[in-house]
Symmetry: C2
């Protein structure tokens, strides 16, 4: 049995779109997969009464409080023990669910990830991950995209390992190529952080470091994983999204660029922690929520965390 927790109250259009995603999820779920709905029991059950076919693959946990988008994460986490996010993390911690997905307050999700679920022993810092569509099909893995804006070189070095394990276990890429995002291919190019990270990575024995890469290599086949600090990664992903949105408005999306629609990916996994956590966008549609839940399901099935745990124990820093 795989149980995926969904924060029914998370997102700008909750609970309508989160509940609405059930219709999209129904045909995608396998027999032994359940969605555990964290929200107001009365409202959820009223909805399920109208849509009894969804009761087959759902469970309800009463969590009526909402952590709003503007609330301070740590404070809200303490003040609202009955919120959907806090209850979700408690269930994840106790292994009553296998993953949690939310389009709610991302700061509160990070508090849950780091302070309730905890970092895997040996992992210096968790990372958030985004998959970028490649022209040839498939995806490249970009990390970190915002969890750790001031990463040091030992953190980036380990992100190479985390990204490599993500690419192999979630995207089924064999011996993934790992590149370091810089402003030139040569060893000496980049800022001081990248230069010193390069010196560590070129000695990496537990992943396949191929050297510096540039922004264009996110889209081609030069590399499978692109490592950078969370500030740079966040800038990069927002830049891509901004250009995507302009293209969309101007009617310029073709079969390749259509794949950049965030709704198709649904969210960003937080990796390097003892649980499967996916953050969605606040503006998530029902389609985005559906894909966020499926991404959480795939994370749970991939045994990513166990593999990261094993790898970190094998190669302590």
């Amino acid at each position: 049995m795989v149980r995926i927790g969904l924060d029914v109250l998370g997102g700008d259009f909750a609970p309508e779109v989160t509940m609405g995603s059930l219709a999209l999820l129904a045909p995608e779920l396998r027999e032994n997969e359940k969605i555990v709905l964290f929200g107001d029991r009365e409202k959820i059950e009223a909805y399920l009464l109208q849509n009894p076919q969804f009761t087959l693959f759902t469970e309800v946990v009463h969590a009526p409080e909402v952590i709003g988008m503007g609330e301070k994460p740590i404070k809200a986490f303490q003040a609202k023990p009955n919120s959907s996010i806090v209850k979700g993390f408690k269930y994840l911690k106790k292994a009553k669910i296998d993953a949690i997905a939310s389009a709610g307050n991302s700061g509160a999700m990070m508090v849950g990830a780091v302070h309730v679920i905890n970092t895997i022993p040996g992992v210096i810092r968790p990372a958030s991950v985004v998959m970028i569509p490649k022209i040839s099909g498939g995806f490249s893995v970009l990390l970190d995209v915002g969890t750790n804006p001031d990463a040091k070189h030992d953190v980036l070095f380990q992100y190479g390992l985390l990204g490599s394990i993500f690419a192999s276990s979630v995207l089924n890429i064999e011996n993934p190529k790992v590149g370091l995002l810089s402003i030139g291919e040569e060893e000496k190019k980049g800022n001081l952080l990248v230069q010193s990270t390069f010196q560590l990575m070129k000695e990496a024995s537990n992943y396949n470091f191929i050297g510096n890469v540039e922004g264009r290599d996110l889209f081609n086949d030069k590399t499978d994983v692109v490592v950078c600090d969370g500030f740079t990664g966040n800038i990069v992903i927002k830049q891509i999204q901004a250009m995507y949105r302009i293209m969309e408005k101007r009617g310029l999306l073709d079969d390749y660029f259509s794949r950049f629609n965030y709704e198709l990916q649904g969210g960003s996994p937080i990796i390097g922690i003892n649980g499967n956590v996916v953050l969605g966008h606040g503006i998530s549609s029902a389609l985005a929520i559906k894909n966020m839940v499926l991404l959480a399901r795939n994370l749970a099935l991939s045994k990513l965390n166990q593999k990261i745990n094993d790898a970190v124990q094998d190669f302590p820093l």
Copy 2:
């Protein structure tokens, strides 16, 4: 009289495209504007004999040596006093020309900019600038795009002033809005560098700081100038170029995205130094060379350096 120096030997397709650009420049130049050609006199004069109409607006300086794209900048600068780049900078230093433009070895150009021309007194570090097309027309100014990958907060603070003066004097924008590139609009968002820069910028009395901006704001009207360190700026500009090239290949360019063609801008000015210097791309076409030269001309006419000098003296750090 305005004299613009052109490095005839600079660029992957030199000297054919650099000389070929003269045909494109001819109709664009005003009566009192001349192109000073740095290269092999014999070859240039042979070309001019075939195209005598160009002699009206050209002068020739014999500089037969080439600093190759792969050469180490400082070493090459010392070893090749008769190279087109070194001679060009000597002429610029002596005010025999008003600007220099080259699509050659960018490291050697930086050596010339910093060590021959020198930083304007009071300017901490020069910056390289790129103009990004806005959807509504016009451009936003992005700096630094690579000159200074490890900029500190005092440098970024001053880049706000440099960018503001560039926007007003080269792009004729009145009281330009200056934004700091970050990963969220709130004051506390960003890495430590951006957070500490924000604290300086919000007290800026000599330019119009509007707060943090995100990647999308390069394309809209929220700001006129976007400040970042040279690592981030270089990543951003290459990301934009990479997406532009994919769009071009896939036939997706419309009237807006067509404006991202680097050939239309021609190059990046280095600002904060005592002279007008424009770096072109190695792969420059004749069209790109033409626009690089015209950009150098516009810099010279804008009196940018004098204005930066005045502003820095008025508001010493």
